[in-house]
């Protein structure tokens, strides 16, 4: 829900309360914009209430600088099923907290390769651009270094958000054909499903067969070096609990989602 609040400010000890009010309102995640107005009230604030408008109004009413608050108008939020879907996944809910400062984009080592920067990706999710986001390569070049996550001033879990987007792209079969990362990740998962552990040699061979067998030639020197140093076992290691893993995956599929 979107709402407009008219707010009257009162003087607090040692100041007029106005600067403090502006600063604190701007810092609230629910407040989208604050503007000064003339007349009976001092400020108008546009808020996006995640649950109920009254909860946000009460939160503001509790501030020491509030003289009075009038709810001018409540607009129903435009339905955004894509935003709802992202928010339903663990970590995804944090997109609502973003203030679009761009710290994430400035921290990202792989931004040059991304169709849309992390900041822009969040803006697009909130604008409901499902197809553009899920077919982009942005999340598939995220290396999970978590620099954005620890630097975000709003606590947005950007790396986990990228994982959510990857899972959604897979679920809706929208993975971008230009990025081989999805193929590699799928091959990786297959290896766990059959053995319970990763079998590097098999993983590499399957990956290159599925993408570009010629690229394997380029990788041959690295593979041979690892082999000759005993770092690339020829045989897969299988755990005893593969039956347990199968049961886990079967039930997970039946329950669906996350």
């Amino acid at each position: 829900m979107k709402a407009y609040f008219m707010i009257k400010i009162k003087a607090i000890d040692g100041g007029d309360g106005y600067t403090k009010a502006l600063r604190e309102l701007e810092a609230m995640p629910e407040v989208e914009a604050v503007e000064p107005v003339s007349g009976e009230y001092d400020l108008v604030a546009r808020v996006e209430a995640p649950i109920r408008v009254i909860l946000v109004a009460n939160k503001i009413m509790d501030k020491e600088w509030v003289e009075g608050l009038h709810i001018l108008k409540i607009e129903p939020a435009e339905p955004n099923p894509f935003l709802d879907e992202v928010c339903s996944l663990p970590g995804g809910e944090s997109v609502r907290w973003c203030i679009q400062c761009g710290t994430c984009s400035g921290s990202c080592p792989n931004i040059a390769k991304m169709d849309y920067s992390p900041r822009k990706t969040i803006a697009m999710i909130r604008a409901g651009r499902r197809y553009d986001v899920l077919t982009s390569n942005s999340m598939w070049v995220c290396a999970s270094c978590y620099l954005c996550t620890v630097r975000c001033p709003r606590g947005v879990k950007l790396t986990e958000l990228m994982h959510c987007l990857e899972c959604l792209a897979v679920r809706h079969n929208l993975t971008n054909g230009r990025t081989p990362t999805a193929v590699m990740y799928r091959t990786f998962v297959d290896s766990i499903k059959s053995n319970g552990r990763i079998y590097e040699l098999g993983l590499m061979m399957k990956f290159y067969l599925r993408t570009s067998p010629f690229a394997a030639l380029k990788m041959l020197p690295v593979g041979l070096k690892l082999l000759s140093h005993g770092r690339m076992p020829l045989k897969a290691r299988k755990i005893k609990g593969t039956g347990q893993l199968k049961a886990i995956m079967r039930t997970a599929q039946a329950l669906g989602g996350a």
Binding site: P90, N110, A143, V170, T181, P221, L226
Partner: protein
């Protein structure tokens, strides 16, 4: 003697074989015992969490359920396993709906997990539980003069805060100093090596690896010290490829912290699997491996 449940992770049986062997070689000298978790499975790492969230948390939790029975902290030398298992733990705490599903999934496999396992990184255990003072007192082979770049990588200090500063970590530098070696300034010490993207996005990863090698080499490092199997493989096995791509001549050995620690503790170099490195460390470690003689007592115990 301190006891821990041990989760080596898939890489330590393959590309990072030396990490596993050198870990085994140092524990008795540090009065600690690592008891390998019986029948552990792959943690799922980043790839599984990017394909199917619910399944990935569930298979990671299978390990936690197995570990809970031991009543010990679960220790892993792999930064990716560390982050993935910790992530499962914190997701189960944070998202009750997810926890309900995971409980049901585990029950279908005859398992249950109450959330009582503490997941720890081997480096953090050695740094905090054993402590640098104890390590200093056990060093028989001072690594004086060896210039080392402390490479933390990403997932040792991120995303969970607490153990070290996530933007400017210091612990590994202090650890290097405690062995008598010299930690050099390394501005990119917590930057990314590309991780598993080196397979699908080779050019991207080579660029990152190149930057890291440049940062370490230009600061006079003789070798790079790492706490992560993926970092070691990327910087070691792909170094020649970086050299031909960027016309550089890096020749920087990339060692696991356990290998350098073992050397300082006087463990014989063979047990530390130094020969598994593709960029040989023999040249820079020769002065230290030769004086390993008084340490035979330690190595016999291994």
């Amino acid at each position: 003697m301190r006891y821990y449940s041990y989760f080596p992770g898939c890489s330590l049986e393959a590309t990072a074989l030396a990490y596993g062997l050198s870990t085994r070689a140092i524990t008795s000298a540090l009065d600690m015992e690592l008891i390998e978790l019986d029948d552990w499975n792959c943690c799922g790492s980043t790839p599984y969490g990017s394909i199917n969230e619910l399944e990935s948390v569930s298979i990671a939790t299978r390990n936690l359920a197995l570990a809970e029975k031991t009543g010990l902290d679960l220790v892993t030398p792999c930064s990716s396993c560390y982050t993935t298992l910790n992530r499962a733990n914190s997701y189960l705490r944070q998202y009750p709906e997810l926890k309900g599903k995971v409980d049901e999934i585990l029950a279908s496999a005859g398992l249950d997990y109450r959330g009582g396992v503490k997941v720890r990184h081997l480096f953090e255990v050695i740094y905090n539980d054993i402590g640098l003072k104890t390590i200093e007192s056990k060093v028989v082979n001072q690594l004086g003069g060896l210039k080392v770049a402390a490479y933390y990588g990403c997932q040792l200090v991120r995303p969970e805060p607490g153990f070290d500063n996530p933007n400017n970590p210091q612990s590994l530098d202090r650890f290097i100093a405690s062995l008598g070696a010299e930690p050099v300034p390394f501005p990119l010490k917590d930057h990314c090596c590309g991780g598993s993207l080196v397979i699908p996005e080779l050019d991207l990863a080579l660029g990152l690896i190149h930057q890291l090698l440049e940062s370490a080499a230009s600061n006079g490092a003789q070798c790079i010290l790492t706490v992560c199997p993926l970092c070691q493989t990327n910087l070691d096995a792909y170094q020649d490829m970086v050299n031909s791509r960027f016309r550089t001549r890096y020749n920087l050995p990339v060692l696991f912290f356990t290998q350098l620690l073992g050397l300082a503790l006087g463990v014989e170099s063979k047990a530390l699997a130094l020969d598994k490195s593709i960029i040989s460390a023999e040249r820079i470690l020769a002065p230290f491996t030769m004086v390993a003689e008084p340490a035979t007592e330690t190595s016999r115990r291994v």
